[in-house]
């Protein structure tokens, strides 16, 4: 394959990636991202409270992220996700780092 053919070959290979195929892939990914962000923002989770026995607090995924960042939840021996501190207490400020 001479140099011009190599360039033309590359052009055809790249044109597909920069053309409509790329635009449609982008739109599909944006739609998927928006759906996941909306679903993640709206859904609720209910970790049990290891300190306060049976009290279950319903939290959003954002609150869950906040708790993860301060070591506020852990998995119990039974496999349940539990809060590690009571309402009004300070979180442990410990994370896996």
């Amino acid at each position: 394959m001479d140099q011009e053919n190599v360039i033309n070959h590359n052009y055809h290979r790249l044109a597909g990636k920069g053309g409509k195929g790329r635009l449609y892939s982008f739109l599909v990914l944006i739609a998927a991202g928006v759906v996941m962000v909306c679903f993640g923002s709206l859904r609720s989770l209910s970790p049990s409270n290891s300190v306060g026995s049976a009290n279950q607090t319903i939290i959003s995924e954002m609150e869950l992220n906040q708790e993860i960042a301060v070591g506020g939840i852990m998995r119990s021996e039974t496999g349940e996700i539990e809060k590690t501190y009571q309402e009004g207490e300070k979180p442990p400020q410990a994370c896996p780092t």
Binding site: N8, F26, M36, A69, I81, T97
Partner: protein
């Protein structure tokens, strides 16, 4: 073959990269103590850091999986950011990449890496971020946060300093984390962006998005005279004229200094010519 005499818009952007990184650094370092850890920023910045505005998406994904929860919010943010910008996030926005860029400016001998070194990132992503949290838990010694050098530099070391000043027991990092951090810090002086190119799981994801992102590196074969100047400009051993959508590209745009302007920044909304060579 006409040689360009004026700078393109993309070439004019290059000097602004360091200022863009610096501006975003101010956003990530939580100057107003907002502590918005409920939301992930699409960059590598440990939420254990006393100065972190947002949560680290990799830490949130791995920990959520360890708890048996699918982190839709974090994955959605990564997908949205990747679909819009791809590797531009690594090259222009990520604070950990910025740190490595700054250290790379120190005049030490720099060694090249083979392009296959980038595949280790996928091993880290699949193994340490997805499989180990799923099959074990966040206490496992190979859990991503247990080995992450960003966690060591941004969170562990400040905590160790604080503990030593206050007379408390010093929270030493484990052996693997210490080894990875020491190798990473030493590597920064001799390899351009060692973390991003060999181990970063977030970089691996955004590298994949280079194929689909709205903003991408556009190669115009009709302008190329195969001078291979772009190969010399690239600090990541990417061949932009052959693989402009390479997984290893962080879109630093240095290759767009091509004398014939064959490489520019394009978007999915640009109009495309229908014939090669036009």
């Amino acid at each position: 073959m006409a040689v360009a005499k004026t700078k393109t818009f993309t070439q004019k952007l290059i000097p602004w990269r360091i200022w863009t990184q610096l501006s975003f650094l101010l956003v990530w370092l939580d100057p107003f103590s907002l502590r918005m850890h409920g939301i992930c920023a699409p960059v590598f910045h440990c939420y254990g850091c006393p100065l972190a505005t947002f949560a680290c998406p990799i830490g949130i994904v791995a920990t959520s999986i360890a708890f048996g929860i699918v982190p839709f919010l974090a994955i959605g943010i990564i997908v949205l950011a990747g679909a819009l910008l791809g590797g531009i996030i690594c090259g222009w926005i990520c604070p950990f990449g910025f740190l490595q860029d700054l250290v790379a400016k120190i005049p030490t001998p720099k060694y090249k890496l083979p392009s296959w070194a980038g595949y280790f990132r996928y091993a880290v992503l699949i193994g340490l971020v997805l499989l180990i949290p799923y099959f074990f838990n966040e206490e496992h010694f190979l859990f991503i946060c247990q080995v992450c050098p960003a966690g060591a530099l941004e969170s562990r070391i400040p905590r160790m300093v604080k503990a030593s000043y206050s007379g408390n027991e010093i929270p030493w990092p484990n052996l693997i984390k210490s080894a990875v951090t020491i190798l990473f810090v030493a590597g920064m002086f001799f390899i351009h962006r060692p973390w991003c190119r060999i181990l970063c799981p977030l970089g691996a994801v955004f590298g994949l998005f280079n194929r689909f992102s709205a903003v991408y590196l556009k190669f115009k074969p009709s302008e190329c005279n195969t001078c291979r100047v772009c190969h010399k400009y690239c600090g990541f051993e990417v061949q932009p004229d052959h693989k402009p959508d390479s997984d290893n590209c962080v879109r630093c745009l240095d290759c767009t200094q091509c004398p014939t302007n064959a490489l520019t920044l394009g978007t999915v909304f640009d109009r495309h010519s229908s014939k090669p060579g036009t």
